[in-house]
């Protein structure tokens, strides 16, 4: 079923178009059959009438010129006539089926009786078959030779008739002087599509219907796409504007439900943020007090250690608050030189770690401008660089743009991360066991915050172990 379209709209359109094709095909079939019948009937009528014309010409023409005059006649498709001394129909040939005889109104010949009288081309009565009032007269008993004038002299001396194909027959009529008029009737194959305008109109109609279906399906499934887009937006920004609750009942209901859900999520996130902010707030005062108290400790060693502990606590609170607040969502986006940001972060890392300055650097374009939230992006980048320095002892930044995506890589020289853990480290408060010590510290929020920020920008960040040694953090941003 790989041919089935993936989208709801595509599937609906496919079903509707298939149904339309079936309806059109059967309609066309019915029409064609009807047309074929009509065409045959008309051709049969014409052939019948012209056959009598041939006969009359043969009777009236002087025998010497008969052949030429018959040949000069402009006969319709399906009818050929010739004069011969012998009949083409020989005894023993099968008789044409009754349906063919009916078609040519030759039922009377079915049992070997003579044909109906030929129409008088000169009078203005309708051709045979069109005037049913004449039928009883014919159906009565039109014996040979007893036809009323002027028909009497046209009556053939003998009529032989034989089958010829599904819709044709052979007829041999003996002239008064003994020669035979041999008629070969063979209806041309029916051409139900004969009319160009009909086909054009049909194709036009089909195209119009298909276009209408595509338009209607597209319109009908648009709310689904709007809903999907809204869900996607909600994933990035819980404060995204609500959906418009209009349109058909079902759609309006779905939109309303979605908005209600978004409201609940927003409240939930707000409560959580509020709680974390409150904790952070309330911890500020005791930490400040402890800091001040530490300044009055006489034991320098104890004071130093206490201040270090407090620094660590503060860093954890700061990271937790930053994670909870999702600062990226509130900062306005502006034009930012990402290359300058990379250099800034690298320079600050050099200032903080002058001992490994040669292992910190930036390689890439001098300028790369994109729209971003500068404070948030700087935090994300600083987190990645800090991780690289702490766990990998190096931070080499590189920047490049390709196919609408900006790619930012940060390489370190560390041992890397086991492949099984390479996604887990992006979970909040997740730290590798080996790093849970005071030397490296860390809050377990650096990577989640960085990823949140990059994702809020429409990008992402992943980690990759390098074959040689070291880990590379690869961040992408839409250019």
């Amino acid at each position: 079923m790989t041919l089935l379209p993936r989208s709801l709209g595509g599937r609906t359109a496919l079903v509707l178009i298939l149904a339309l094709m079936v309806v059109q095909a059967s309609g066309l079939g019915i029409h064609a059959l009807d047309r074929v019948d009509l065409q045959r009937l008309a051709q049969a009528r014409e052939i019948t009438a012209r056959s009598f014309g041939v006969w009359r010409t043969a009777v009236l023409a002087p025998p010497a010129q008969r052949m030429r005059m018959i040949a000069d006649l402009d006969l319709p498709d399906g009818l050929t006539a010739e004069i011969g001394e012998t009949p083409t129909v020989t005894p023993g040939m099968p008789r044409p089926p009754i349906n063919v005889l009916r078609l040519f109104r030759l039922e009377q010949l079915a049992d070997g009786r003579p044909p109906p009288p030929p129409p008088d081309m000169d009078d203005h009565r309708p051709p045979p078959g069109m005037d049913d009032r004449r039928r009883p007269e014919i159906m009565g008993d039109p014996p040979r030779g007893r036809l009323p004038p002027p028909f009497a002299r046209f009556a053939p001396r003998e009529i032989l008739i034989a089958n010829n194909g599904p819709f044709g027959f052979l007829a041999s009529l003996q002239l008064p002087d003994g020669d035979w008029v041999n008629l070969r009737v063979e209806l041309p194959p029916p051409r139900p599509w004969h009319s160009d305008t009909f086909l054009a109109a049909f194709i036009l109609m089909t195209c119009a219907a298909v276009l209408l279906i595509l338009w209607a399906v597209n319109r009908l499934t648009r709310p689904v796409r709007v809903l999907a887009a809204a869900a996607d937006r909600l994933g990035r920004d819980v404060n995204a504007p609500p959906l418009e609750e209009g349109g058909p009942t079902e759609i309006a209901k779905a939109a309303h439900a979605f908005n209600t859900m978004q409201g609940r999520i927003r409240r939930f996130v707000a409560d959580r943020t509020q709680m974390l902010a409150a904790i952070g707030h309330d911890l500020r005062t005791p930490i400040t007090r402890l800091r001040l108290r530490a300044e009055f400790l006489d034991d320098d060693e104890q004071r130093r250690k206490m201040l270090a502990d407090l620094d660590e606590m503060e860093a954890m609170i700061a990271a937790t608050l930053a994670f909870a607040r999702d600062e990226a969502a509130h900062e306005p986006a502006t034009a930012l030189d990402l290359a300058a940001l990379c250099r800034t972060v690298a320079d600050e890392a050099v200032d903080a770690h002058p001992d490994i300055a040669e292992r910190i650097g930036y390689a890439g374009p001098e300028h790369l401008v994109l729209r971003a939230r500068p404070v948030a992006l700087k935090r994300a980048l600083s987190n990645l660089v800090r991780n690289a320095l702490v766990y990998g002892g190096a931070a080499r930044l590189s920047l490049g743009a390709e196919a609408g995506t900006v790619r930012l890589a940060i390489e370190d020289d560390g041992p890397g991360i086991p492949e099984t853990e390479i996604e887990n480290v992006f979970q909040p408060f997740r730290r590798l066991e080996t790093s849970r010590n005071r030397e490296t510290g860390g809050t377990g929020l650096g990577l989640p915050i960085a990823r949140n920020i990059f994702r809020a920008h429409g990008g992402d960040v992943v980690l990759r172990n390098r074959a040689g040694a070291g880990l590379t953090a690869v961040a992408t941003l839409p250019a």
Partner: protein, 240 residues
């Protein structure tokens, strides 16, 4: 300036107030404390203060309102204590005319260093006329520096991030355009907190800043090198 600067500390937490008072007194300052904006207004006329340390998060009248009121009274330097991450408070505070900010929980030594630096920069020491409001934007050579937001915009309006050192250096240079500043003067003005007094640090900071300003290092036009060891910011500086 008096030998002992007089500091007014406004904070709603009693212990912090008292501990900070004791700490600053140990650093050789005179300290008066106030528990809230009302008390601050009450004690304000009773003394001549060289600097106010103001907590923005206080019950009752918000710290920002008190800062606004203080600005109508004098140009006394104000150092605000802001909540960590409360970007808007910090920006409003600086735009109101606070001279510096320290996020809470603060490091007392850092607060002391900031107070010292602000006192050094304020010549009058809290005397006389209310000073002009601080610049919202400083324009030079097509570039714009917004001190409250600590951001630099290039002539195309693109934000160019600066390191802390680059920002401080640029601010010092912009305060004294077209004046030669020796490395020693720059070291002094930058109240360099952690790094040792290496001349090289200044040179590195200048070369980094030049690169950010797209100022050709071999033929600089904005930050020019002066023979004999100094730098000069050569541009028309407009503060708005």
């Amino acid at each position: 300036m008096d030998a002992t600067p007089h500091i007014l500390v406004v904070d709603d937490d009693r212990e912090i107030r008292e501990l900070l008072g004791k700490f600053l007194e140990r650093q050789g300052m005179r300290v008066t404390v106030a528990r809230d904006a009302r008390e601050a207004r009450r004690v304000w006329p009773l003394g001549r203060y060289h600097l106010v340390v103001l907590d923005l998060m206080m019950p009752g009248e918000p710290g920002l309102d008190l800062a606004r009121w203080l600005r109508t009274q004098s140009d006394v330097p104000i150092v605000i204590l802001t909540a960590m991450g409360e970007e808007t408070d910090r920006i409003i505070g600086l735009e109101l005319g606070a001279d510096d900010y320290v996020p809470k929980p603060f490091n007392p030594r850092e607060l002391h260093a900031r107070i010292r630096a602000v006192l050094r920069r304020a010549p009058g020491g809290g005397e006389g006329r209310p000073k002009e409001p601080p610049a919202r934007a400083i324009t030079f050579a097509g570039w714009v520096l917004e001190p409250a937001r600590r951001r630099l915009l290039n002539p195309q309006g693109t934000e160019i991030p600066l390191t802390g050192g680059e920002y401080e250096l640029l601010l010092v240079l912009l305060d004294r355009p077209n004046r030669v500043l020796t490395r020693d003067m720059l070291m002094d003005l930058l109240h360099n907190r952690q790094a040792g007094p290496f001349d090289r640090a200044i040179d590195v900071a200048v070369s980094r800043l030049r690169r950010k300003l797209e100022d050709d290092g071999r033929n600089p036009s904005v930050i020019k090198t002066v023979r004999g060891g100094g730098y000069v910011l050569s541009a028309d500086v407009v503060k708005t």
